[in-house]
């Protein structure tokens, strides 16, 4: 098959249209830079969303052969490998907007507890940036995208002057907050990239809880609605969809000079040339692309003479404790959808408790699914049958409560992504293999996560459902992958510099979550947006100075 190659040399090629690629392309085009953006998938059409479709309507539609929007990439189309004793749940979205189409919208600022954690406890490497480097970018991101939240400010969760009003807490959240605070544990309004006021022409959230199925009014941040149209309006953005990037190409000087991709549907191979490449295909896919970009100069993958690409994977270990709050038994049911998901958050507090801990780093606690929702979670957990069972379900239905602690996983060299040349996808590109397992620090932290969550629920008077205090979600389930292309000062222990530029390949930038030196306990997307903005500011300035001609 003839490989199609365009002769045009683009100034910048951005790979990926999600949080990182989308923000980089937006910022660069605003600043007059001409960008070619490639995304592996297509646009998700609003008319296909199932906003406001309630569960009994679902059943009818499914019976008639309709189906809701499928954002997630299937493993039939793109498998991945893991060792048989190391399961991993990988979620990917190939399509315009990437995972910002389905994300949880939790938007938390990291602090110097994160950026300087390695300096304090000696594990891993410190970030080459501190809070004061990134704070101006958090400010800019929040003003651009709209984040609701409170006025709290702490060493674990820095405050912001730019929050829109947070949503009011639900009944169960009011009680959880009082219970935690009686233990000296602060509870704050959570910060979400959900509009609670009209912003930039987008209407505020109208509390229909359909978020995961596509928002009919574009009231939560995603790059497809909120950034890419504005990038296109500048006239500086060219987009190619259904472009599955396989490799970054290299010239004989060892600089990146183009991208090889396959048409997702026809399988035709294409090449495009560029002076600078910005990779934002999401941690795992970006890592796979880098490792597959082998050449004489880089036998281990482009920019990987250090053998750090793919290593040092980190994420968040997560679990759940659930139950019923007797204060809410038999209450008349209200509409608990709110802004879809959590309204309150328990920021990391373990560093303030005066007890010695046998683990390092920390965890935060989120509360999703509190109140009366559409799942069958209450009924499936009550014993018996008959009229008495039915009455019990109705009584307990409004009282459902669940807490989800997220704990920081430490990076380790052996937790890694590799590529397997003997297992290829439909385009002949080696698949990724993910070899990850939790370690001792995670196990010890998990114990404390259960202990504190149970204590809060006990003080709240909850009927706690039985749980296994050694269990946790399968790695990958939190969908917060990091570390495999991390930034750092030392080129032997890191891949990128402080501006997300590869130490070894100065015209290749990696701007997604793979660039994080640590995973923190906090959700990453706000930080990804800030880092991508900062990196693309630096790149735009370097281009203006003529450093990449």
């Amino acid at each position: 098959m003839q490989i199609q190659q365009s002769a045009k040399i683009h100034d910048v090629i951005v790979i990926g249209s999600g949080a990182s690629g989308g923000m980089a392309a937006y910022n660069l085009t605003q600043r007059g830079v001409k960008v070619l953006m490639l995304d592996a998938g297509d646009r998700f059409e609003r008319r296909d969303f199932w906003t406001h479709v309630n569960p009994w309507q679902w059943r009818e539609r499914l019976r008639e052969g309709e189906h809701p929007p499928e954002f997630r990439l299937s493993t039939e189309e793109q498998p991945y490998l893991t060792p048989s004793d190391q399961p991993f749940n990988l979620v990917r979205v190939w399509g315009v907007g990437g995972k910002t189409n389905i994300w949880g919208r939790v938007s938390l600022r990291m602090s110097d507890l994160d950026f300087k954690s390695a300096e304090r406890d000696g594990w891993g490497i410190p970030w080459p940036i501190g809070y004061r480097d990134i704070a101006p970018y958090y400010d800019k991101v929040e003003q651009l995208i709209g984040v609701c939240g409170g006025e709290d400010d702490s060493d674990a969760l820095p405050g912001s002057k730019y929050h829109m009003p947070p949503p009011r807490p639900r009944c169960g959240e009011v009680i959880i907050k009082k219970a935690a605070e009686s233990l000296g544990i602060p509870v704050v309004p959570i910060r979400r990239a959900v509009l609670t006021r009209a912003h930039r022409g987008f209407p505020p959230c109208h509390h229909c809880g359909s978020c995961g199925l596509g928002c009919g009014t574009a009231s939560f941040f995603n790059t497809a609605d909120h950034l890419i149209p504005y990038a296109l309006k500048t006239g500086n953005l060219e987009m190619v969809t259904n472009a599955v990037v396989a490799r970054i190409l290299v010239d004989d000087k060892g600089l990146a000079n183009g991208v090889q991709y396959f048409d997702r549907h026809t399988g035709e191979e294409r090449k495009v040339l560029g002076k600078v490449i910005v990779l934002g295909a999401s941690c795992m896919d970006s890592t796979r692309i880098l490792l597959n970009s082998k050449s004489e100069k880089y036998p281990n993958g482009i920019g990987n003479r250090s053998d750090q690409v793919g290593r040092n994977y980190c994420e968040q270990v997560r679990t759940h404790v659930r139950g019923f709050l007797p204060q809410l038994f038999g209450m008349p049911v209200s509409n608990d959808d709110g802004i879809g998901g959590a309204h309150i958050y328990i920021p990391r507090f373990n560093h303030r408790i005066h007890q010695s801990r046998d683990y390092i780093r920390g965890f935060g606690i989120q509360c999703w699914g509190i109140g009366a929702h559409s799942g069958t979670n209450v009924a499936t957990r009550l014993p018996g049958f008959g009229a008495k069972f039915k009455r019990e379900v109705k009584k307990k239905y409004p009282s459902w409560v669940e807490l989800h602690p997220y704990g920081e996983m430490l990076p380790r060299a052996d937790n890694r992504v590799t590529v397997e040349k003997n297992h290829v996808d439909r385009y002949g590109v080696p698949l990724m293999k993910i070899s990850v397992k939790y370690g001792e620090n995670e196990r010890k932290m998990l114990k404390h996560m259960y202990q504190m969550t149970e204590e809060i629920l006990t003080v709240a008077g909850a009927e706690i459902l039985p749980f296994d205090r050694e269990s946790n979600d399968v790695p990958g389930t939190a969908i917060h992958e990091h570390g495999t292309c991390r930034m750092g000062e030392d080129p032997k222990l890191s891949v990128l510099n402080t501006f997300n530029q590869m130490h070894e390949v100065q015209n290749l930038f990696v701007v997604d979550g793979s660039s994080f030196a640590t995973a923190s306990e906090k959700n990453p997307t706000l930080t990804i947006l800030a880092i991508a903005w900062r990196a693309s500011d630096y790149l735009a300035e370097e281009l203006r100075k003529g450093n990449f001609s």
Partner: protein, 190 residues
């Protein structure tokens, strides 16, 4: 340990998210479009469908709101079974057969012919929380399965979720009021 990726088995899929969002991944099966008038089962035989209808109504009966029969839970269970692996389907049918065998053994009649109290009594033995005897074990596993399916079918229907539980979501709400109950706002831990 399993090496399978993000595809939970279908049973877990139903349980994990209260059925509805993952049902889509199971409906690759070519479906007969909903016909006008009479519904006929995809998977269950007519007598099996009747047994399932009776059991589901015993699990969630009519009270001041309609029960499983009115909510057509049998149709939901039939559809959900039609999407399962043959292993799961066979186990379910084995369980239905066990119910009739137990009924014959105790009363010389099939389950559908028994009066309600005797039907209920059979379910009582196999729904018990205490460890079941060997001869009841198939029944116990079956009961858990059909109870799960009944619960899923009922509490995602308009009758179950809308009328019985009073669910109000998935609609336009201009301002979210949050908790306005004095007893919660003033609640203090002991």
């Amino acid at each position: 340990m399993n090496q399978k990726k993000d595809k939970m088995n279908r049973r877990e899929a139903f349980k994990a998210v209260g059925m509805v969002p993952l049902l889509v991944s199971l409906s690759r099966h070519p479906l007969v479009p909903a016909q006008e008038g009479e519904w006929t089962p995809f998977f269950l035989k007519p007598e099996q469908n009747e047994t399932v209808s009776i059991i589901s109504e015993l699990i969630i009966p009519q009270t001041d709101t309609p029960g499983a029969r009115a909510a057509k839970v049998n149709e939901y269970i039939d559809f959900s079974l039609s999407q399962e692996t043959s292993q799961v389907q066979e186990a379910f049918i084995e369980g239905l057969n066990w119910i009739d065998q137990r009924s014959q053994q105790l009363h010389g009649e099939s389950f559908v012919q028994l009066p309600a109290e005797e039907q209920r009594a059979i379910l009582e033995t196999i729904s018990s929380e205490i460890r079941l005897s060997v001869q009841d074990r198939i029944g116990g596993v079956f009961f858990q399965d059909i109870k799960d399916r009944t619960v899923e079918g009922y509490y995602t229907s308009e009758i179950g979720l809308g009328q019985e539980l009073g669910y109000q979501g998935k609609t336009y709400v201009s301002e979210f009021p949050g908790c306005r109950h004095e007893e919660h706002i003033n609640w203090e831990p002991d």
